[in-house]
C-alpha cells in the first residue's frame, strides 16, 4: 500500500502507543504526530468529530478511529507479515474476547485502584486481583498471549506492562507483583524486552514524573487523562 499513513497520538497515551506498536510490527512507515491534549488541533477534531480523541490513524487521507478498530484495520490492510490477529475464526473470537475484557474491565479496575481511596479503592483492588488472575491463567505458560509472537491481546495489554506499573508506584500500592502473578510478570518482561515495543512506549521515568507531578489533578478527575 503506497498511500500516506499518519498517526495522531499523544506521548503518554497507551491507546496511541498500541497503534504505534502495530504499525512498527508490520514495518509500515508513518508520520507520528503527537497532539497536545489540552489544546487539540483542528485536524484532530475534523477527523474524529464524534469523540475528538486520539488515536486517529489517517490512511490515504481517510481517518480510522478507536485503537482496537485501528489494530484490526492495520492487520487487515497490511496482511503480508506479522499477523496481529489469528487467522482461525474461533481463535480470532477468543482474542477479540480478551481484548474487550482488557479494555472494558481490566484497565478501569487498575486505573481506579490507583486513583481512589478507602472502601472504593479496596473494591477496585479486589476486582483487579480477580482480573489479573484470569489473565495469569490465560497466558497458559506461553511467552505471549498471542503464543510465540506478540498479538492483539499483548498489544492491548500494554497498559498493564507499563502504565499500571507506574501508576501503582505513584499510588503506593502493589497490585501487579511477581509473588502473586509470576507468569504475568514474566510476560511483562518479555513484552518490554522487544525492541519494537521499546520504540513505541514512553520512557518509564518520564511517565512516572508525568503522573507524579499531576497526581493531585489526575487523581481528582473521573476519567484517565493521557
Amino acid at each position: 500500500m503506497g498511500e500516506e499513513v499518519k498517526l495522531f497520538g499523544s506521548y503518554a497515551s497507551p491507546f496511541s502507543s498500541r497503534v504505534e506498536l502495530a504499525l512498527k510490527l508490520k514495518g509500515v512507515s508513518f508520520e507520528n504526530i503527537k497532539e497536545d491534549l489540552a489544546n487539540k488541533s483542528a485536524l484532530l477534531v475534523q477527523y474524529n468529530p464524534v469523540h475528538k480523541k486520539i488515536p486517529v490513524l489517517l490512511h490515504g487521507g481517510r481517518p480510522v478511529i478507536e485503537s482496537l478498530i485501528i489494530l484490526e484495520y492495520i492487520d487487515e490492510t497490511w496482511d503480508g507479515n506479522h499477523a496481529i490477529l489469528p487467522k482461525d475464526p474461533f481463535e480470532r473470537a477468543l482474542a477479540c474476547f480478551w481484548v474487550k475484557f482488557i479494555d472494558d474491565k481490566v484497565l478501569r479496575a487498575l486505573w481506579m485502584s490507583c486513583r481512589s481511596e478507602g472502601e472504593m479503592q479496596k473494591n477496585f483492588m479486589e476486582q483487579s486481583k480477580e482480573y489479573l488472575e484470569l489473565l495469569e491463567n490465560e497466558l497458559k505458560g506461553n511467552k505471549f498471549f498471542g503464543g510465540d509472537a506478540i498479538g492483539i491481546v499483548d498489544i492491548s495489554a500494554n497498559f498493564i506492562a507499563l502504565w499500571a506499573i507506574v501508576l501503582q508506584e505513584v499510588a503506593g500500592i502493589s497490585l501487579i507483583n511477581e509473588e502473586k502473578y509470576p507468569i504475568l510478570c514474566n510476560w511483562i518482561e518479555e513484552f518490554l524486552s522487544s525492541e519494537v515495543v521499546k520504540e513505541s512506549l514512553p520512557e518509564k521515568e518520564k511517565l512516572f514524573a508525568y503522573f507524579h507531578a499531576k497526581k493531585e489533578v489526575i487523581f481528582a478527575n473521573k476519567a484517565p487523562a493521557y
Binding site: V50, I69, I70, Y73, C96
Partner: protein
C-alpha cells in the same frame, strides 16, 4: 458447511441475544436455542462463559464464543452466504466504529432513562438518545448510499447492532410517552426501522414491544423494592 452442532444460549427478551439469532438466520444456519430462565443461570452458561456468566453464548461443535458482536463476526467468518461485514477493510472499520458507538454510548443512554434517579438525569439521558439518533441518521445516510440498510442492499453489521435495540427503543417510548423515532427528525432511520423489523431473518426473533413493556415493569418493580440500599 454441513449441518453442525450449533447451540445458542440466550433469552427472547435480550437485544444482545437477538444479534446472533438474526445472523444465523441470515446465513440459513439451524441452531438449538437454549433459553435461560430469568433470575437464574444454567450450569451450561456458567461453564461456557465463566468470565461474565452472561448471554448470549454460541456453542459451535462444543466450543463457546461469547459477547454478541464477537459472535456476529464469528458467524460471518465461519458460514458463507450472506455477508454481514463489508469486504473492504476501511468500510469494516467504519461499521465497527458505529457498532461500538451504539453499544458504548447510545444504548447506555437509553438504559440511563430507566436508571435515572432524578428528573434532571432522566431528561439528560433522553437528550442523549435524541442526539445519538441524529448522529446515526447522518451515519445511515453515508453508509447506506441511498440503499435500504446501513449495510447497503442487505442487512449488515451496523443494522444488526442497532436494529436489535429497536424492541427496547419502542418499549421505552411506550413507558415514558416520548417518540424517539420521529419521521420529522430522523426520517431515514424511521424507514430503516420498518424495513429491518419486517425482514424475514428478523421478524420471528424480534420480541413484541408489549411483552418488553411488561418485562420492564416487572424488573422495575423488583429493583425498586423499599429500603433496598
Amino acid at each position: 458447511m454441513a449441518s453442525e452442532d450449533v447451540k445458542l444460549i440466550g433469552a427472547v427478551m435480550s437485544p444482545f441475544v437477538m444479534r446472533p439469532r438474526v445472523s444465523l438466520n441470515l446465513k440459513g444456519v439451524e441452531y438449538e436455542f437454549l433459553e435461560e430462565t430469568f433470575g437464574s443461570k444454567s450450569e451450561l452458561l456458567l461453564k461456557s462463559n465463566p468470565v461474565y456468566k452472561k448471554i448470549p453464548v454460541l456453542i459451535h461443535s462444543g466450543k463457546p464464543i461469547c459477547e454478541s458482536l464477537i459472535i456476529v463476526q464469528y458467524i460471518d467468518e465461519t458460514w458463507s452466504g450472506h455477508s454481514i461485514l463489508p469486504s473492504d477493510a476501511y468500510d469494516r472499520a467504519i461499521a465497527r466504529f458505529w457498532a461500538h458507538y451504539i453499544d458504548d454510548k447510545w444504548f447506555p443512554a437509553l438504559g440511563g432513562i430507566a436508571r435515572a434517579q432524578t428528573e434532571e438525569a432522566k431528561n439528560e439521558a433522553i437528550e442523549q438518545v435524541f442526539t445519538g439518533l441524529k448522529l446515526l441518521e447522518e451515519a445511515f445516510e453515508k453508509c447506506s448510499g441511498g440503499k435500504p440498510f446501513f449495510g447497503g442492499e442487505t442487512i449488515g453489521y451496523v443494522d444488526i447492532a442497532l436494529g436489535c435495540y429497536l424492541g427496547w427503543l419502542r418499549a421505552t417510548e411506550k413507558l415514558i410517552g416520548i417518540t424517539f423515532l420521529d419521521e420529522t427528525k430522523t426520517p431515514l432511520l424511521c424507514h430503516w426501522a420498518e424495513k429491518f423489523s419486517s425482514h424475514e431473518a428478523v421478524a420471528s426473533v424480534m420480541p413484541e414491544t408489549d411483552k418488553l413493556v411488561e418485562f420492564a415493569k416487572m424488573i422495575q418493580a423488583k429493583f425498586k423494592a423499599p429500603a433496598n440500599k
